[in-house]
């Protein structure tokens, strides 16, 4: 009971401290990171942490949708704009002679923003090549900024090493060669998606059981608590979604020297890796399946243009993934402080290294919309024709915002409704997909040497 209670306590603390961040005026109190990762050590086995799953099993009907975060942003925006509009309308006459503010009020004086500046600097240095590209550190940097430097690196690191160690020990126990990169790919996948039982040396009949990571149905879009999206949360709760699970897999690959790539599909991300004969495998970590390209395309929201423009199904380089971390950083900032020029700074640096990063284009379009609304409200929301005539600078913002929307549309992006996403992710359980998985999974197991 002890460990179970502890888990719930941590979770409770976690939720209560952070769930009010989405309020209109974010609370300035620092969110508390999970203070402990319970990591068993194999030499001195205390297998309690993974032996029992503290979370009840949830039936497999899942959905998760990071891109919908941006959609939600839109609604949040509209709500705020309505308020802004009201305020500006009340002062309509008195305000008309004031000087127009063209930028959203900066939040950078507020408590905790300094960590975001630091994090952006750190990640930018990686992208510029001044420091080595390191995904483990990049992800930690993003999450630590949210927790205002309270995240414990040593625990984070230990938890990652533990998983890598699990995969390695299982491989050796099976009498396979851990140094084969494809073996690493497969075994790391198994460490995350399968139940592994590792015997403890010197202690017969004792073994550590590692359970598959699960899909987290609770607040899977990080609406109430943005830190739900984090790899650190996945590590301590053993539950994640299509944002944290693939990232953790990539970190494990980096840790062990295996090669794999991230790839996107509508509102989703997954893992691709290539075997020695050049065949690609798609790892769907949200349900531990190996899926076909046809399944990925089967969502029905992937257009030919999106594939041609490399929005979806394209193996992402490490640099691109780290650029994406900056986009995640911007999302965390938005959840804590709202939109200001820091967000723009973030997405612009992502787009500099990865001009096709869809997520950043979406954030950028939302930022520009918010900014436009803010400026337009100051002059009483006139018709665009009047804007063009009397406030050419504001009209330029308007045109600029529309150009971004057009660019996103032309790139082949289609909004995927939540229901469609759900239905699609569930279709992985259909007979055909199950057969495909079994076939591919067996094929993949044969790759382990």
């Amino acid at each position: 009971m002890g460990i179970k209670g502890k888990y719930f306590l941590i979770l409770a603390v976690f939720l209560t401290t952070t769930n009010n961040l989405l309020g209109q005026i974010p609370v300035v109190e620092a969110p508390k990171p999970p203070t402990m990762f319970t990591v068993p050590i194999y030499n001195n086995p205390t297998p309690q942490a993974r032996q029992s799953n503290p979370f009840p099993n949830v039936p497999n009907s899942n959905n998760h949708n990071p891109l919908e975060m941006y959609e939600r942003d839109k609604h949040e925006l509209q709500r705020r704009n309505a308020e802004l509009y009201k305020i500006s309308h009340e002062n309509d006459n008195s305000n008309s002679n004031n000087i127009i503010q063209y930028d959203l009020p900066s939040q950078l004086g507020r408590r905790g923003t300094e960590y975001y500046q630091e994090a952006l600097d750190k990640l930018s240095k990686m992208l510029r090549g001044e420091t080595p590209l390191n995904l483990k550190n990049a992800v930690f940097t993003v999450e630590n900024a949210y927790f205002e430097n309270h995240l414990n690196y040593s625990n984070y690191n230990k938890a990652i090493k533990y998983l890598a160690e699990t995969a390695k020990l299982q491989t050796m126990q099976d009498g396979r060669n851990w140094n084969n990169p494809i073996t690493k790919n497969v075994m790391l996948f198994r460490a995350m998606a399968d139940t592994l039982e590792i015997k403890v040396r010197q202690k017969e009949r004792t073994s550590v059981v590692s359970y598959p990571m699960q899909y987290d149905f609770e607040d899977f879009r990080g609406e109430e608590d943005w830190s739900k999206m984090f790899v650190s949360k996945l590590l301590f709760a053993n539950k994640g979604q299509c944002h944290s699970l693939p990232l953790l897999y990539l970190i494990l690959c980096e840790e062990t020297g295996a090669k794999a790539n991230l790839a996107y599909s509508p509102s989703h991300s997954y893992i691709k890796f290539k075997d020695n004969s050049g065949n690609w495998y798609n790892l769907e970590l949200t349900n531990g399946r190996i899926v076909t390209d046809a399944f990925v395309v089967g969502s029905g929201y992937i257009t030919a243009e999106a594939i041609k423009n490399k929005l979806y199904m394209e193996p992402q380089t490490k640099r691109q993934v780290i650029a994406q971390c900056i986009s995640d950083l911007a999302m965390g900032y938005r959840h804590k402080y709202g939109y200001d020029s820091f967000i723009k700074q973030c997405v612009d640096s992502v787009l500099k290294y990865d001009p096709n990063n869809l997520g950043s284009w979406m954030i950028k379009s939302n930022y520009e919309t918010q900014r436009l609304e803010y400026v337009v409200n100051q002059v009483g929301r006139p018709h665009p024709d009047i804007l063009k005539e009397r406030y050419p600078k504001i009209f330029e913002l308007f045109e600029n915002r529309n150009a971004i929307y057009r660019k996103i549309d032309a790139s082949g992006y289609r909004e995927m409704p939540k229901e469609a996403y759900e239905a699609w992710l569930n279709s992985v359980n259909e007979e055909k997909e199950r057969r495909e998985h079994d076939e591919k999974y067996n094929k993949v197991l044969r790759l382990v040497r």
């Binding site: 390209d293 046809a294 395309v297 089967g298 969502s299 029905g300 929201y301 992937i302 257009t303 030919a304 243009e305 594939i307 041609k308 490399k310 199904m313 394209e314 549309d409 032309a410 082949g412 289609r414």
Partner: protein, 361 residues
């Protein structure tokens, strides 16, 4: 009541033309080639309609192009008439274009009934898919727009061609796009972005349907082999491939020179034209096989003392390698028919709902 069906008017022309051909007519093919090439190099105006009819005229010199033009003009007038009534509800800036697209679609896929006076109505029936001979195996002219206009039956070649011709006449943007063994229409509307029009079934399928054929690899899309829009120039260049294929149908394939010439020119203007690559490589392969039989050798390398054959062989090999690299996979014909029927069997999955709601029933 009297019903007038306009399609009967030019029906007779075709029946007599097709089979009285001889090898002397290769000259007509070179004429058609020159006619199309002039457009491509910019000496004459790029006009898809003229290129298509030049190809069909080469195969069937009885074709009366004037009559065909009249028929096209009639269809254009009919489309304009249809577009004037409020067939769809659409209120974006590109309203005029979208309504004309809807008009063409209506004319091609629906019956148009116009009362002429109290006792006469005019009916224009929809064009239908020719299940008898979808690949022109029995009769190559099944692929032709002229045949479609005469019989009201077409396939995935003639139907999109007619659509493109009408769109060009109406001066609205419209693009052909390739799928394996297939051509369809891509258009752009502000409200929906790019959308597909599939005339063989009269539907608007989503991209996932085309990918579901199973023979489009992701690489093939990335490299623009399939599902990419063809510019008018590229569509005209593709007419040269049609010309080459008609030539193969009509004459014995002993000499691949004309086919190679057509395909090379097409590839010059559209380097990823998959049909041009395939037609060319297959013609070369056929020719080399033939020479091997004639000289009774088992290995093609034995013929390489002939420099022309050696070069042809390496050209052919390079084309096949390039096709593979670009992501091309061969699609068996049986799979093709299964795939086409997916639209009927799984409409929920593959039909673009945002367009179905725009179109008024």
């Amino acid at each position: 009541m009297c019903v007038i069906n306009l399609k009967k008017i030019s029906l007779i022309v075709f029946l007599f033309g097709a089979f009285q051909l001889s090898a002397q007519n290769t000259e007509v093919y070179y004429d058609s080639y020159d006619f199309i090439e002039k457009m491509l190099v910019g000496k004459t105006e790029l006009k898809f309609k003229n290129a298509v009819f030049a190809v069909e005229k080469a195969y069937n010199d009885m074709l009366n192009i004037e009559e065909l033009n009249k028929e096209i003009n009639f269809l254009v007038a009919l489309t304009n008439l249809t577009s004037m009534s409020d067939i769809i509800t659409y209120e974006k800036k590109d309203k005029d274009i979208v309504i004309k697209h809807a008009g063409i679609f209506r004319v091609m896929c629906d019956s148009i009934i116009i009362p002429l006076d109290s006792t006469h109505i005019f009916i224009h029936s929809p064009y239908t898919y020719d299940f008898d001979d979808p690949f022109g195996q029995k009769d190559w002219s099944s692929m032709f727009v002229s045949k479609l206009l005469e019989t009201g039956k077409g396939n995935c070649h003639s139907l999109p061609y007619l659509y493109k011709i009408l769109a060009d006449e109406l001066e609205i943007p419209c693009y052909l796009a390739f799928a394996p063994n297939h051509i369809y229409i891509k258009s752009y509307a502000e409200s929906t972005g790019w959308y597909n029009t599939e005339l063989t079934s009269g539907t608007f399928p989503v991209d996932a349907w085309i990918m579901a054929s199973g023979y489009i690899s992701i690489d093939a899309i990335r490299n623009g082999l399939f599902m990419d829009t063809l510019s008018t120039k590229q569509a005209i260049a593709n007419c040269l491939v049609d010309l080459a294929q008609g030539y193969q149908q009509k004459f014995v394939r002993e000499n691949p020179d004309f086919v190679i010439k057509c395909c090379n020119t097409a590839l010059k203007y559209h380097p990823t034209n998959v049909n041009a690559m395939l037609t060319k490589a297959e013609a070369q392969k056929h020719y080399i096989d033939l020479q091997m039989k004639k000289q009774n050798v088992k290995n093609a390398k034995d013929l390489f003392t002939d420099k022309i054959i050696a070069e042809m062989y390496s050209d052919m090999e390079q084309t096949y390698v390039r096709l593979h690299q670009l992501g091309y996979r061969r699609m068996p014909e049986r799979m093709y028919l299964e795939w086409i029927s997916l639209l009927k069997n799984e409409p929920n999955k593959y039909i673009n709902k945002s367009i179905q709601t725009i179109q008024k029933k």
